[in-house]
Point group: none
DNA sequence: GGGTAAGCGAGACGGTACGTCAAGTCTTCTG
DNA sequence: CAGAAGACTTGACGTACCGTCTCGCTTACCC
């Protein structure tokens, strides 16, 4: 940290340094893209020694992974209005918004991209975030089953893939926009097929 | 590419060198992953000078893009049996197979991953390959419309997103397998909703 | 060597190309110094193919050596007034002028510099130019001996080294200017010692 | 410089690395000549990273300049016997020996050669070495003036040029040997003219 | 006067070295 | 003893020229 405030510390790590690193990483990703995030750059911007980063994070993707943090949970917990259609429409719209325009969404895309050539990252990304996100995504479906709005034998995993898959596809592959009518139509297709 | 066979040539480049580079790039990607593909490595393995690579390809992704070549078209042209259900089921199964198990599929995943932090690559990947692939993907739908098996006002682009989106999502995001029942179910959902 | 005027020729080389190469080499030496003279650069500026240069000159120093040409002989043939003192004073002043201010003098300094780490060049520089120059330098002394103005047993080679050595030393080593009083004083020292 | 002994260090550079680089540069110059000295080669032979060289020396001539170091002062401090003739004869013979046969003499010739097409090097070579050498060269003359063996109004700079110029000239230009009679004769000419 | 061979511009090729950048390791000093 | 500082090795980057080569054109000589 800045020269005035650095304290070597015999009792555990510096929270100050940790925060400075995570913010610097986020800023650099936003400013210069994934390739522009380097350990050297993070250290320089955070006013931190490289060794401090290496001591606590195995690689730069770990820093980003931690910087990604709980943002996804904060932004993408589906509502619970009691109405399945409303919950799904809102949630898919939020998902599209998150992925296409938010800062954490940019981090997510960067990490997912890197995960394509980094199996270890892929595993951690899934274990730390995607699994939990899918659990949140499934909540409206399970609540609807409980309410009797959806059949109890519905394969919710597959159904979820049908709902969110096209959104991720547009974001990650075609780069097409994901407007509200598109997400609403996904919900409509789902409800047509499964709602009693 | 050894010393005996190279010929300086007033009329353009050495096809030998070109092939050696593309094969070396493919091999390296398969062996060591995207990060393991370097210009130096390609040059060394292909027995080619670095300058020869820089002369003809602006970056290593361009090499991979060219190595990717027409593989997608070869592997993913949908059949035309006259029966929409059959055509779609076969095509989606082929797509899943291509993306999850083939060598060109691995190249595709690597390039798509890189495209998340490289807008220029994203654009080229779409213009050179994805757009044409989507055109091929749409053929069964258009033929079915012509035959009267699908309504003429069907929004085929959106429909295609619903069909293939979940496949790409599993491959790129969740890493879940994409078995035949999954792809067949996607076709079933589509036909339930749209077939007269 | 512009495109319109090149003529293939069964017997013998193109004088046009030769001239263009020599001029380009001279110009580059003047503009960018010795390190800035490259075969590629000469070829590009002369509008000539690299191969044409390699066909006729073994290396770039050969080009410069030829560009140096007869300039030294033209500039540094001592006068013959019949008076030893006058001849020597004029000649040394001319030598200083040649080495410090003329274009061929710059080429000479460059070649002499290169010769310090290139024994083959050193040999050729001496055989092609310095030996002949020393013969010209010695003419006034031999004429004076013939006239009886200098003792017949004078070691003219050593005497010449005493006369011109300090001039070259200033030019090549100290970089000090070589004004007329300095060269005149060299002549005075020589005449004091040897003239009868 | 081998693995055991290198220490990263907050306070300053590795003396070990410095020595290894300077020795490697000297060796390469002796073995392969000036053109054979490359940063890559120095690094490889010294067992040092290229970056370490670039960190501390702007270019290869700077390495050689430092390698040249104090060798000239060590070898070429004139004696002080109280007898001008003896001092000068010894010193000129030492100078000839240094320039023609010693290793530092070879470095000197290489640097002087390079200085012909590198004004910045020329300046540094003069400021760092030649000026000091000339001061040492002048000592016998000044002592003789103090003793009254030479006239107090003697232009010592010019006199020095007359004394050493022919030696440098033979070494750098003609390549002729510089035997003891030649240097003794230079001293004789000087004493004839100036000694009372 | 048509064939042929040399000289030429052009430029691709395998290479070497350049000088830069970031990675990740190590050591010392400071608080 | 954590953290700042920073020197170190390693290795890829992209550039500039090297010297060699093959090509297709343009002559000028020679039969």
């Amino acid at each position: 940290m800045r020269s005035t405030t650095h304290r070597g510390n015999r009792h555990g790590r510096s929270e100050e340094a940790r925060q400075a690193v995570l913010e610097a990483a986020d800023d650099l990703l936003a400013e210069k893209g994934f390739a522009g995030v380097t350990i050297e750059g993070i250290a320089a911007r955070a006013g931190v020694a490289k060794q401090t980063i290496y001591r606590w994070w195995p690689s730069k993707v770990d820093v980003l992974l931690e910087a990604f943090g709980e943002d996804m949970a904060d932004a993408l917990t589906p509502p619970d209005t009691g109405d399945l259609a409303t919950d799904l429409r809102t949630h898919l719209a939020n998902l599209a918004e998150f992925l296409t325009t938010s800062d954490p969404g940019a981090v997510f895309r960067a990490l997912t991209g890197q995960a394509q050539h980094d199996p270890a990252l892929a595993t951690r990304l899934r274990d730390d975030h995607l699994t939990h996100q899918r659990e949140r995504d499934l909540l409206p479906l399970h609540r609807a089953i409980t309410r009797g709005d959806l059949p109890p034998d519905l394969d919710t995993d597959t159904a979820l893939d049908h709902l969110v898959g096209p959104v991720y596809y547009r974001v990650l592959v075609t780069g097409a926009p994901v407007p509200r009518p598109f997400t609403d139509d996904l919900v409509a297709a789902f409800l047509d097929r499964h709602r009693r």
